[in-house]
């Protein structure tokens, strides 16, 4: 299976010297270049305001780069117009930092939204109906263990539950790339770990490529070192020499610049005072338990 994956390895997201500037202010992104390959899990770290969300929105075509080139799934999308972007976006799942759940719609309608509105799910120009997509919606909600909240409204759920609904909505259309903006921000450690466990599970079951923005170094550590075991339905630590460790890469943003890119070991070894703030220090108990 590993060999099979290697054959299909393709570049999912590529930034080449991407910069973004609002008005005359300092650039919000400054010549950022990186590549994310299929099957990879990319952890994006960085202080508040360092440009992580902006980077994600450029990858989705929600913001336009001032200069540089962006490619998504092998297509150069730098000069795409809004209509062309809709097709690209329909292959990308996204969890927004502020949630972005539609608060006038029920949980079911929220999760069904991409299936009902994206052109690629239409047959003969006709939208599917809520009834026809219900099994998919139910499955996505079951996955995040919220299968019994179909008729609730987002405002009736807790912050952690809303985050999980966001994950269900992002994954329901089976995206090739999943962008998670701060999935654990503002959550207690237990709920945060549950969310990360979901991401690990999702990665194992669907082999999704994912970019995860986070402030918590524990999140990256868990993603880098654990895998989901479907037989036992639990997370387990990867052996030290496992090739699966290679698929999790880290990058650190500072004031719009990409200042670090590499595997966890390299991040931990960094002596740069800014970068090392985001690494897992040995003193901080690496043997932390997962759910």
């Amino acid at each position: 299976m590993a060999r099979n994956e290697a054959k299909e390895r393709r570049c999912i997201l590529k930034f080449e010297d991407v910069s973004l500037q609002f008005d005359q202010a300092d650039p919000v992104l400054d010549k950022v270049s990186f590549e994310i390959w299929s099957g990879e899990t990319r952890i994006i770290l960085g202080a508040a305001g360092s440009g992580k969300t902006v980077m994600m929105k450029i990858a989705l075509g929600l913001l336009k780069a001032s200069s540089g080139r962006v490619s998504v799934m092998g297509q150069d999308v730098t000069n795409f117009d809004e209509r062309q972007w809709y097709e690209v976006r329909s292959h990308i799942g996204v969890l927004f930092q502020e949630g972005g759940l539609f608060d006038s719609l029920t949980i079911e309608e929220n999760v069904a939204y991409p299936l009902l509105n994206q052109a690629r799910f239409m047959t003969d120009g006709k939208k599917p109906t809520l009834d026809t997509v219900r099994p998919d919606v139910q499955e996505a909600l079951n996955f995040v263990e919220l299968g019994n909240t179909l008729n609730k409204f987002p405002s009736e759920l807790s912050g952690g539950m809303r985050r999980r609904v966001g994950i269900a909505r992002g994954s329901v259309a089976d995206p090739d790339l999943f962008l998670y903006d701060s999935p654990t921000a503002g959550l207690d450690p237990i709920t945060a770990n549950t969310i990360i466990a979901l991401l690990i599970k999702d990665r194992e079951m669907r082999n999704t490529t994912a970019a995860i923005i986070t402030h918590r170094f524990q999140d990256g550590h868990l993603l880098a070192n654990f895998r989901y075991n479907p037989e036992k339905d639990r997370l387990e630590r990867l052996p030290a020499n496992s090739p699966l460790r290679e698929r999790t890469k880290f990058m650190v943003m500072k004031e719009g610049r990409l200042v670090f890119e590499g595997p966890e070991a390299e991040l931990d070894a960094s002596v740069d005072p800014y970068i090392s703030k985001f690494s897992m220090h040995p003193a901080q108990n690496p043997e932390r338990k997962v759910s």
Partner: protein
């Protein structure tokens, strides 16, 4: 000097772009019928009681004010004519529009503003819907249908209010003379400007509300700011437009 002009010009440019896109979407699929009816309900049915109330009292006040002036010239019989003309030409459209600007431009701006800051607008674009088509066009259409209707209702209720003051209350004239007078004084010209105005106001109110809502930045505080700005800007434009149109019609 140039810097000072830059921001209003840019805003105006955004307004024109939004107006163009929202209007073109009226003819493009997909149509969001459900959203349209929902908006017609909130704007039209929701504003009906307050419109009736304000319309009624503007007629009452007008007739009361006019009763003194007209009796000085011994022309109290003209009260129906004066009430009808001022209401249909000016007061009805402007008062209704100001009311709806206060009620719905703010409502639209705060709704879209909170959607913007909670990234729901981004989510729409990310999940395959055009927010202009899904949010702006239904509001614009609903406003263009309901504001003229509300204005007609306000005009009519206002004339009834004038009647109540002029006939049973002050006995300035007889009922039949009041209605005759009111009805016959209205020319096509008056009715035309009484309907063109609300249509243009509807454009302004809906689009200003949407524009300021969708441009919101800076969290919850930004939503408050956007809401206030939308009402102020829409109200100012209502007066500017009404002056322009009245000027055109006076020359006709």
């Amino acid at each position: 000097m140039l810097d000072w002009l830059k921001s209003p010009i840019l805003t105006f440019q955004e307004f024109v772009t939004l107006a163009g896109r929202a209007s073109l979407n009226v003819f493009r699929r997909p149509f969001y019928g459900q959203d349209l009816f929902l908006q017609m309900d909130t704007i039209g049915v929701g504003s009906l009681p307050i419109t009736v109330l304000i319309g009624f009292f503007s007629g009452v006040i007008m007739a009361l004010q006019m009763s003194r002036a007209l009796s000085q010239y011994g022309a109290t019989g003209q009260v129906g004519q004066i009430t009808a003309i001022t209401l249909v030409r000016e007061m009805g459209p402007v008062l209704t529009a100001l009311l709806i600007a206060g009620r719905n431009a703010s409502g639209i701006a705060s709704e879209l503003g909170s959607m913007k800051v909670s990234e729901q607008i981004d989510a729409m674009r990310a999940l395959g819907t055009d927010p202009v088509k899904k949010l702006v066009t239904p509001r614009l259409l609903a406003m263009c249908v309901t504001l003229p209707l509300l204005t007609i209702i306000a005009d009519f209720v206002g004339i009834v209010g004038g009647y109540i003051v002029a006939v049973p209350l002050l006995r300035l004239t007889t009922g039949s003379q009041y209605w005759n007078n009111a009805w016959r004084s209205l020319e096509y010209n008056d009715i035309a400007q009484g309907l063109i105005k609300p249509l243009l106001f509807a454009f302004i109110i809906a689009l200003v509300g949407c524009l300021y809502g969708m441009r919101t930045s800076g969290g919850t505080q930004g939503v408050g700011r956007a809401t206030t700005q939308a009402v102020v800007v829409a109200s100012v434009w209502i007066f500017v437009i009404t002056a322009l149109i009245t000027r055109i019609f006076v020359n006709l």
